[in-house]
Symmetry: C2
Subunit: 353 residues, 2 copies
C-alpha cells in the first residue's frame, strides 16, 4: 500500500476560466468540506473567516483571488486593467490586514502585471494565473526541500512531538514542521507523532491531527500539559515545530507553548528542532527580545469553544507566541539546508547571498 | 476593608432536623447556585454528578448524608438503627465507588454509632450529626494548619502559580495548596495568583479562578502551555500545587501537568512547593514509580468543551495524573509542618508516631 499524500489546502482547477478549490479549515476536523471560489468576494470571505489560514496558504489564496477578480475586466485598455487589478488587490488586502504574506503576494501580482509587456488583456490575465500558480508551486517546492533536509531526523520507530499546525493546511502542501514527517512517511519509515492540542485555538488537535491522519501517519493528541509526562515515559525522541519569526541569532518566535516544550525537551535530553523557510528569518532583529509578542483577546482563554470556562470577568494571560532561545534549539531545517548548531554566524552564512 | 473569606463548599445548617447546604460545583464558574440537601437521595445524586467534588469535601458530604438518612428511622431498636445506618452507608458508597475518602468517612460514621453506647435513638442520631460536623471541622482545622505553615512562603508582592483546584471547594474550606494563599491574604499581604486552566477538565479556570476571585485575591488564568513564557518573564516567584498521593521518598502524584510545571520551575530557578495533608502520604509506596496512573476517557481530550475538537476517532493520551520526583520539590507543606528538604528520612520523621 503506498502511503497517502498530505492534503492539498488550495489548488487552481482548469484554465483561466477555472476556479479555486480549497479546504474549508473552519469545518475541520469533523468535516472535510471543499470551497469552490469563482469570484473575489468568495475568496475575501474565505480569508477573512479563516476558511483558509496559515501565512503561505493565505498568500496563495490572495494571489489566486486576484485572478478570479480580473476576469471580470471587460475592457481592452492595459492601463484600465492595471487600475482594476489594483482595486482588487486593495480589496483583498482588507481581508486580514496584518498578514505579511497576504501583502507580499498581492504586491507580487501587481508587479508581475506591470512587468508583463503586452497590451493583450487575455495574455495579461493568463500571465497573472501563471504567476499565482508559480507562487503556489514555489511554496510547495520550498516545503518539499524542508522535507528533504529534515527527513533524516525522523529515525525509524521514533516518537515525534509537534505543536500547533505547521503543516500542509498552512501551506501549498507538506507544510514546514510536518514536511520532514511526510517525507519520511513516503519513504516508508515507521514512526508515530504526538501533537499537543495547542490551546487556546487548538490548531494541533483540530488541524495537525486531522492532516496527519489523512496521510495515514499514526498520530496521538494530548493536552499541552501532558507533554512533560509523555517525555518522562521515554515516548518522545524528537520535538519539531515551525516558526513565526527567527531573529539573527537564532531565537525563534512561535506559537505559545513552544518555549515550554523546548525547556522540557532539554530537561529530558530530547533534541528540539525548528523547521521553517529562510523567509522567516528577520536579520533586522538581533535576538528574541526584539520580537514583538501579540497579546490576544482574553476571550480565547475564557470561552474558546463557545462556552464560558472561567468566571466571566476574570483576567487572562493570552500571548499568541513565545520566544525559544537559540541555545535550546538543536537545529533549524530550512529549504536551503540544516542550520546546526544554531548561532548567528551559521545563520548568516546559510542566508548570505 | 477586611478581606473576603474563601467560600464554604459544604455546611450543616440547624440541628438534627436541619439540612446540608452545598455549592453546586457543576454550575460554576458562571453561577453560584446552592443545593439544599434534606435527604440521602439528593446527597447521593450530588456526589454522583460531581455537584460536590474534591476528596475531603466528598467525605464530609457522605458523612452528612448518613445523618440525613438515619432521621427517617422511626423505630426504637438500637440494632435496627445500626442496620438501617449500614444500608444508608452502602447506598451512599455506590455514588462514587472509587473514592477513598468517601469510604473512610462512611466507615467512621458506622464505627461512631457502634461505639456510642446508648439505646436512645435520638441520642444516636445526634451523635452522628456531631461526628459528621467533627469530620468537617477536622478538615477545616487541617486546612488552616497547612495555611499557617505555608503562609510564610507567600512573599509580599510575589506571583504564585498554581494548578488544578486544591482549594476551598475541594475541602471544608481553605483547601490545601490554596490555604497558604488565603492565610497570607487574611494577613493583608499583597500578591497575585496565576492559575493554569488545567486541561482536560479545567478545574483551574472553572473552580480555582472562581474561588480566589470570590475571596478578593487577584487572579489571572492562563492556558497550561503558557506557564513557561510566564516564568521566563519573571512573573512567577513560587509554584504551589496539591497532591493526590505522595510516596515514602517524597515523589508526588498530582493532576496531569504538575510535573511539567515542576521541570519549568527548576529551569527558571523558581521554588516548587506541594501542600497536602499528611494523610496523602502512602508509606507503602517507596517511590513514584509505584503509584498507579489512571488513564482517563479519551473523550475528555477529544471533546472537553462540549464540542468535538479533534478528528472523531483519533487516539488520545489522557493520563489523570503525573508524578513529580522529590528532587524537583523544594518543600511539602502539611498540617504538621513544612517538610524541607524533601526526602524519605525527613518524611518518616514528620509522619512518625
Amino acid at each position: 500500500m503506498s502511503p497517502a499524500t498530505p492534503p492539498k489546502s488550495i489548488q487552481w482547477v482548469g484554465g483561466v476560466d477555472g476556479h479555486v478549490l480549497m479546504i474549508d479549515q473552519t469545518r475541520l476536523p469533523t468535516e472535510l468540506a471543499m470551497i469552490q471560489c469563482r469570484d473575489t468576494e468568495t475568496m475575501w470571505e474565505a480569508i477573512k473567516h479563516l476558511r483558509v489560514r496559515g501565512a503561505p496558504a493565505i498568500g496563495i489564496a490572495a494571489a489566486m483571488g486576484t485572478v478570479l477578480g480580473v476576469r471580470d475586466y471587460g475592457g481592452s485598455d492595459r492601463h484600465g486593467f492595471l487600475s482594476y487589478l489594483d482595486q482588487i488587490c486593495d480589496y483583498l488586502g482588507t481581508s486580514r490586514p496584518t498578514g505579511v504574506n497576504l501583502f507580499w503576494a498581492l504586491d507580487r501580482m501587481r508587479q508581475h502585471a506591470r512587468s508583463t509587456e503586452t497590451d493583450d488583456i487575455g495574455a495579461l490575465k493568463l500571465a497573472l494565473l501563471d504567476e499565482a500558480k508559480r507562487i503556489r508551486d514555489e511554496d510547495a517546492a520550498m516545503c518539499r526541500a524542508i522535507g528533504k533536509y529534515g527527513e533524516p531526523l525522523i529515525r525509524p520507530d521514533c516518537g515525534v512531538l509537534t505543536h500547533c499546525n505547521a503543516g500542509g493546511l498552512a501551506t501549498a502542501e507538506y507544510g514546514t514542521a510536518l514536511a520532514p514527517l511526510y517525507t519520511a512517511h513516503e519513504l516508508g519509515r515507521p514512526f508515530c507523532v504526538y501533537v499537543g492540542e495547542t490551546r487556546p485555538l487548538l490548531q494541533g488537535s483540530r488541524l495537525t491531527a486531522w492532516e496527519l491522519q489523512q496521510a495515514g501517519i499514526e498520530v496521538t493528541v494530548l493536552c499541552d500539559s501532558m507533554a512533560g509526562a509523555l517525555m518522562k515515559q521515554g515516548r518522545v525522541n524528537l520535538v519539531i515545530t515551525g516558526a513565526d519569526r527567527i531573529a539573527a541569532n537564532g531565537d525563534v518566535a512561535n506559537k505559545i507553548g513552544t518555549y515550554s516544550l523546548a525547556v522540557l525537551a532539554r530537561a529530558h535530553g530530547i533534541p528540539f528542532y525548528v523547521a521553517s523557510p529562510s523567509s522567516s528569518f528577520d536579520p533586522s532583529i538581533s535576538d528574541g527580545s526584539g520580537i514583538p509578542i501579540e497579546e490576544r483577546d482574553p476571550d480565547e482563554v475564557r470561552c474558546g469553544f463557545g462556552r464560558l470556562t472561567t468566571p466571566p470577568d476574570v483576567a487572562c494571560y493570552c500571548p499568541a507566541f513565545d520566544v525559544t532561545p537559540a541555545d535550546l534549539i538543536r537545529g533549524i531545517v530550512t529549504e536551503r539546508g540544516l542550520i546546526q548548531p544554531v548561532n548567528g554566524e551559521i545563520i548568516a552564512e546559510m542566508l548570505g547571498d
